[in-house]
């Protein structure tokens, strides 16, 4: 028991010494998205040249979907029609679904507005808008890591989910069925006035090509 106490004291001392030397990391978090906090406000242009601000959607649930059509993990959901199904279903429920492309020009997933509109038609996409985030400021604000990376914002403007689309990190479309869709779970809970049971998960997919 004595040894444990001594050890704890030593660890505490070491921590104290160490913290003293490195205390200046991780500043400027107020503009960073954080679950349970107001979602950072942004304004972006969509593929038709219309401007959208997150402010406009107070009073509604908002889904942010990071998008890159050349990413196999994104294709997993679009080729199976699953992403479109969710977009359409939640549009009917009054949810604003915003797909965001943060790929830098010349990188995988970058599309011109015309190419975005062609994809919307070809893939039968049903988001409220596809937003162009070049050079990635909004992606960095939300710390969007992968495509897909999903966020859910409640009608009060508070971020209630940040993470993977579902519980099975795989590129195999056969794995969609049987996985728990975290976006569906977050929206269902939030719409019923309940706490989101799993508010943060590790997103999986391709790295966002900033």
């Amino acid at each position: 028991m004595k040894r444990i106490a001594l050890f704890t004291a030593l660890l505490g001392l070491a921590l104290w010494a160490w913290n003293g030397t490195i205390a200046t990391e991780s500043a400027s978090t107020d503009t960073q998205a954080q679950v349970g906090q107001p979602a950072p406000i942004f304004t972006l242009m969509d593929s038709n040249g219309n401007s959208h601000s997150l402010d406009d959607f107070l009073g509604q649930h908002v889904v942010l979907e990071w998008l890159n059509h050349d990413c196999p993990f994104v294709r997993k959901f679009y080729n199976a029609g699953e992403m479109q199904r969710l977009q359409e279903y939640y549009a009917e429920q009054g949810v604003v679904w915003l797909s965001i492309i943060s790929s830098r020009e010349g990188e995988q997933g970058y599309q011109t507005p015309e190419e975005i509109n062609a994809s919307i038609e070809e893939k039968n996409m049903r988001p409220a808008a596809v937003l162009i985030d070049e050079p990635g400021e909004v992606g960095r604000m939300y710390n969007a890591r992968t495509t897909p990376h999903m966020f859910v914002i409640n009608p009060e403007g508070v971020l209630v989910y940040d993470g993977a689309i579902d519980s099975n990190p795989s590129a195999n479309p056969a794995d969609i069925e049987g996985a728990e869709n975290y976006v569906v779970a977050a929206l269902s809970a939030s719409m019923n006035g309940e706490e989101v049971a799993t508010p943060t998960t590790r997103p999986y997919g391709c790295s966002v090509k900033y």
Binding site: F7, T8, L11, G12, A14, L15, W18, N19, I22, D70, C71, P72, F73, Q108, R145, T146, P169, S170, A171, N172, T200, T201, R202, P203, Y204, G205, C206, S207, V208, K209, Y210
Partner: protein, 277 residues
């Protein structure tokens, strides 16, 4: 007429050939996977090791069991394995990759994913074909998933016989598995997201190394933040590692499991760490 039938035959042949080539699950152009077994004959009740030997194109990499900020580890599902027990994948220690703004853990050039297996004691002698369905992700700047089917035939006989070449391959990579029997005592504390891991004991067995050459890789993605800088310090009888708790940790960590990789001047040492608080 001859010409017409020749053309017809040619097309028939092409159709047959393409149906033979067509696979439901495409493999990777950037990784060559060869499935091996270290035993050529296995006696009922004995065990062996399957290996998936990955030769990876330069510039590309595959992932370790905890891939880090992105990426996906390989998965294997078995069919035709009745009468055999197959274990979990054993992963050689990984390397660190910087992918854009993310840090990931995986393999370049070459690796061997190993799966221990055993033949049930009541298995009848004969020839058995097992199929491994292997899924993995290979990335350069872009990532491509691969879905491959690998078949292997195992003879069940009176006496287990080893395949010398495959056995040597397995033992070369077994050396890269985290070593559990290192005699060092792990303990850790967590203070506002800062994890301090201490290893106490005889550090001379670790050889010559610089604290900068030490990396801790957690076994699961909900313990340590892959992209946070790590710092190591040495004192007389302890090695200290300062890490950052993962943003995906369900609460303050009560367990810390992973591998400490020390890239010393005489080679790499990988220590299996199982610590609880």
């Amino acid at each position: 007429m001859i010409r017409f039938s020749t053309i017809l035959l040619f097309f028939l042949f092409m159709m047959m050939a393409s149906s033979l080539v067509a696979q439901p699950s495409p493999g990777s152009d950037h990784v060559d996977v060869r499935m091996i077994s270290d035993v050529s004959v296995i006696s009922p009740g004995d065990s062996g090791t399957f290996g998936f030997h990955m030769t990876i194109e330069e510039g590309w990499h595959t992932y370790w069991k905890n891939p880090g900020d992105s990426g996906i580890p390989a998965r294997i599902s078995w069919s035709g394995a009745d009468g055999f027990e197959t274990g979990e994948i054993q992963w050689p220690w990984p390397e660190t990759f910087q992918e854009e703004h993310l840090i990931t853990h995986g393999y370049k050039n070459e690796t061997l994913l190993m799966v221990p297996f055993s033949a049930n004691a009541d298995l009848q002698p004969g020839s058995y074909e097992l199929t491994a369905n292997l899924e993995y992700l290979v990335c350069e700047k872009v990532c491509l998933p691969a879905f491959e089917r690998h078949n292997i035939t195992i003879e069940v006989g009176n006496e287990t016989e080893y395949h010398a070449g495959n056995r040597a391959l397995v033992s070369r990579f077994t050396e890269k598995l985290p070593e559990a029997d290192h005699g060092l005592e792990p303990a850790f504390t967590v203070d506002e997201g800062t994890v301090l891991l201490r290893l106490t004991g005889d550090l001379t067995s670790l050889g010559d190394f610089d604290p900068d050459d030490i990396t801790f890789y957690a076994y699961t993605d909900d313990m340590i933040e892959p992209s946070a800088p790590q710092q190591a310090q040495l004192d007389d009888d302890a090695l200290w590692l300062k890490l950052q708790q993962s943003r995906y940790a369900p609460g303050t960590l009560t367990e810390l499991n992973g591998v400490v990789v020390i890239r010393g001047s005489e080679g790499v040492t990988a220590l299996d760490i199982q610590a609880s608080r």
